[in-house]
């Protein structure tokens, strides 16, 4: 989920606002801008990166379902539980690497809350498990709230205190629920992938910005969407995912706390920014990207952003694991927050103006 905190954007807005006030009653006609740069290749490659990420999510979610089904088929086998936990971590990664582009179908089709609601409604889950309700994927999707499905519900059923649960502890009802919830997760992952990749899907919408048909009026608007997506997740990681539990010293607020996967989540979120910046996802993407554009306009800023992103990943990795047990490590935690917020301010202050000016 995406609490849109934007701590720093706000302060940045103020300077701009006071400028706009001055002209709010001006008689001058606004000047129509002419687009001086052809962003087609960047937008097209960015769409490929998004589709590649969701393709990975789709496939790794399917692998997670297979792994979860194998626990049921091999009741009591710890190695199958361990494998399913590894599959959960593997599927979690492309989702976290998609959080720099939570706009479009993830939002309009409520797929983000369906996949990633937090907290888990453990009270209701216990009651559902204790009942005789038939635990189908249709029931989990349509009969229960989003806080009873998605990554964290599946995580809760697979992990305890950072470790795979004991195979002997799984009840038959838990297994049924796990399979039903994971099935819904795979459906959502597939929907996201399809909604972006299909003919006339969101990738096409995005890549054709400014053609008169796309919902994006101009290519510049789509470029700003891209940067805002990167800023949005930087803001959420530094000022939400890390800040909420840290500021309140409350482990209950830590995301991915059952698997102790939080720090990898955070680092993958920064890698999501990195992928958008570089225009690559693993071996996918040709690298024609925001980095290309900024390098042309101002190589100093381009180099700075590249190294800030690298620094932020290292800073997150420098927080002792697991995050939930180290909320007192102020120096490391605050260093990571600062590093991520510096990406935020640099994108806002230095990169955006290169697009809008």
């Amino acid at each position: 989920m995406k609490p849109f905190t934007h701590f720093l954007t706000k302060s940045l807005l103020i300077g701009a606002a006071s400028a706009t006030i001055l002209v709010s009653c001006s008689d001058d006609d606004p000047v129509t801008p002419t687009e001086s740069y052809d962003y087609t290749a960047i937008l097209g490659n960015y769409s490929d990166v998004v589709v590649g990420t969701y393709s990975d999510l789709d496939q790794s979610a399917a692998a997670l379902l297979t792994a979860v089904q194998a626990i049921q088929a091999n009741a009591g086998s710890q190695s199958h539980v361990d494998a399913a936990c590894e599959a959960w971590i593997a599927a979690r990664s492309p989702w976290e690497k998609s959080e720099a582009f939570l706009f479009g179908p993830a939002e309009t089709l409520s797929l983000d809350p369906s996949l990633d609601s937090w907290p888990v409604d453990r009270g209701q889950l216990d009651q559902v498990l204790a009942s005789s309700e038939e635990l189908t994927s249709d029931y989990v999707r349509n009969g229960l709230a989003p806080t009873l499905r998605g990554f964290h519900t599946v995580e809760y059923l697979l992990f305890r205190e950072g470790q795979p649960r004991n195979a002997a502890d799984f009840t038959a009802r838990e297994m049924e629920y796990l399979i039903a919830a994971t099935t819904v997760l795979t459906e959502d992952a597939e929907t996201l992938h399809t909604e972006w990749s299909m003919t006339d899907g969101y990738a096409a919408e995005f890549a054709s910005a400014g053609d008169g048909e796309s919902r994006y009026l101009t290519q510049e608007d789509a470029m700003i969407e891209m940067v805002d997506g990167m800023i949005g997740i930087a803001d959420e990681v530094a000022n939400g995912k890390i800040a909420d539990p840290y500021d309140e010293n409350n482990t209950e607020l830590v995301e991915s706390q059952f698997s102790y996967n939080s720090l990898l989540d955070f680092a993958d979120n920064v890698r999501s920014i990195q992928n958008a910046w570089n225009g690559t996802y693993g071996t996918l993407g040709n690298g024609t990207s925001l980095l290309t554009y900024v390098t042309e306009k101002d190589p100093t800023i381009a180099a700075a952003v590249t190294s800030l992103i690298n620094d932020a990943i290292l800073a997150v990795e420098n927080i002792p694991a697991p995050f939930r047990n180290n909320l007192d490590k102020s120096a490391e935690i605050e260093a990571a927050q600062t590093a991520i917020n510096t990406i935020f301010t640099t994108l806002e202050d230095d990169v955006k103006p290169l697009i809008t000016e």
Binding site: M1, K2, P3, F4, T5, H6, F7, T9, K10, S11, L13, I14, A16, A17, S18, A19, T20, I21, L22, V23, S24, C25, S26, D28, P30, V31, P33, F103, G104, E107, S110, P113, S117, W118, P119, V120, D121, R122, G123, Q124, Q127, V128, S131, E133, L144, P146, T147, R215, Y216, L217, E220, D221, I224, E225, D228, G232, G240, K352, T356, E357
Partner: protein, 463 residues
């Protein structure tokens, strides 16, 4: 803040004093051309992205901004069943689990497709007769209250399962073009106790929430100047304030929020949404929505959230910015704007007012804004009627919704389902459903040639 090229250039070429606008008569319409970019006055943001409705007002600073951001978190907070260590208090019956779930990206909800469950639409319900304590208020349906909760915690039965079916018809323009229209038919099924045969049902899609503080700041005097309840000027357009019950002051105040203007303040709107939409009790409504009903939870955890949370969420909605218009200088858009006025749309969709003072929210006070609403009730005809009166609003009467930002709906929310029940699938369908006082304007629109109709639509998409 996405300060576009246009406005950066304006800054370079103009240095015009801005004080003139605040001296204008609140009802004098239309400033200069670029004035009209600033739909929300100083709270305007230049953003043509999916975040266009979700940006804090740029004139928030320091602690004010922090409060807004706290409200943002409250607005996103997903509630779970009590007892829980975080976000406790959902239900026992409810419509959805967070504010944002019905107002995605601070934008517009949508009705379900045939036979699907309602996600960001709900049903207000009542039976004929007088409310026992508040004159004019709808009378609760015994055992169900004033809003149908179609979802429930595990072990609790949803109050009912409403089944929506779309009925299709068509509209033929004088020039022969045919447009298909649809209208919902709603059946109440599987009710947890017998559903009264005389119960009235009003479907409501969740509206966008940005710019609401500005609408709250419009003075009562201005509303009264706009109102013409007896159509004294004989233009066929009345316009009536819905006087509704204000809990805080124990008095009747002009209703402003909701499709029939049934809530006088954003604080009351927010507190009521917490309890009715999510079953989250709060200091304004200190009991669950199922209190006194057979399915109440009998927990002693009320109120489930603090007044601080309610106030933060209300402040968030009060201080979201309004997206700037786009393409104001486009010739077709300009022509569309003229046509919009000529055919009378602006009689109710009043383009501009200056706000008054909203206590403790200077950011939205004394702003020249372009909301395209008069905030008043109008008879919209039998086809749009919900046949369910509420305070001074008859079944046929609806509050003029603001049109600002409407052109970004498709980008932000992925659809353009408009009107109270989301029946219109685009701007033109919405126009064609206008009846009653708006019938003349609807007919005038229909009589335009196709190129002119497209210009009106282009104008609307520029808002």
């Amino acid at each position: 803040m996405r300060l576009s090229i246009k406005h950066t250039l304006i800054l370079a070429v103009s240095a015009v004093a801005f004080t003139a606008c605040s001296e204008d008569d609140p009802l004098t319409p239309i400033g200069s051309m670029d004035d009209r970019y600033y739909a929300g006055g100083e709270t305007t943001v230049f953003s043509n992205t999916t975040q266009g409705f979700a940006v804090p007002a740029p004139n928030l600073t320091g602690e004010r901004l922090s409060k807004h951001l706290d409200g943002d978190l409250a607005f996103e907070q997903a509630f779970v069943s009590a007892p829980a260590t975080v976000n406790s208090g959902l239900g026992p019956v409810y419509n959805n689990i967070s504010c944002a779930a019905c107002h995605p990206s601070d934008g517009r909800g949508m009705p379900p497709f045939d036979g699907q469950a309602m996600e960001s639409m709900l049903l207000r319900i009542s039976v004929p007769g007088s409310h026992p304590t508040i004159a004019g208020a709808p009378k609760d349906v015994p055992g169900f209250g004033g809003q149908l909760a179609d979802k429930a915690l595990f072990g609790v039965q949803p109050e009912a399962k409403p089944v929506l079916t779309w009925m299709h018809s068509s509209f033929t323009f004088p020039d022969g073009e045919v447009v298909s229209l649809r209208k919902p038919h709603i059946e109440i099924t599987d009710s947890y106790s017998p559903w009264p045969s005389d119960a009235m049902v009003s479907p409501r899609v969740a509206p966008p929430v940005f710019g609401r503080g500005l609408l709250e700041a419009i003075s009562e005097t201005t509303l009264q100047e706009l109102a013409d309840p007896t159509d004294a000027d004989g233009d066929g357009i009345s316009g009536k304030i819905n006087m509704v019950w204000d809990i805080a002051s124990s008095s009747y105040l002009p209703g402003r929020f909701g499709w029939k203007a049934e809530q006088p303040t954003l604080l009351q709107q927010t507190a009521t949404a917490y309890v009715q939409d999510m079953g989250v009790s709060n200091p304004v409504h200190p009991y669950d929505n199922a209190e006194g009903q057979p399915q109440e939870d009998n927990l002693s955890d009320d109120p489930e959230i603090s007044m601080q949370i309610v106030e933060d969420a209300a402040f968030y909605v009060q201080t979201l910015s309004v997206p700037a218009r786009r393409n104001v200088e486009d010739e077709d858009v300009e022509r569309g704007s003229q046509l919009f006025s000529q055919i009378g749309c602006g009689a109710c969709h009043v383009s501009s007012v200056v706000t008054g003072s909203l206590a403790d929210v200077p950011e939205v006070s004394q702003q020249r804004i372009y909301p395209y609403t008069d905030m008043l009730l109008h008879d919209m005809g039998d086809e749009l009627s919900d046949n369910r009166p509420s305070f001074d609003a008859t079944g046929n009467e609806w509050r003029t919704p603001p049109l600002w930002g409407i052109g970004l709906t498709r980008l932000v929310n992925g659809h353009e389902y408009l009107l109270h029940d989301g029946r219109a699938r685009d701007l033109q369908e919405a126009i064609l459903w206008h009846g009653g006082e708006a019938e003349q304007s609807r007919d005038a629109y229909a009589s335009l040639d196709k190129a002119e109709r497209e210009k009106v639509l282009r104008f609307l998409r520029s808002l």
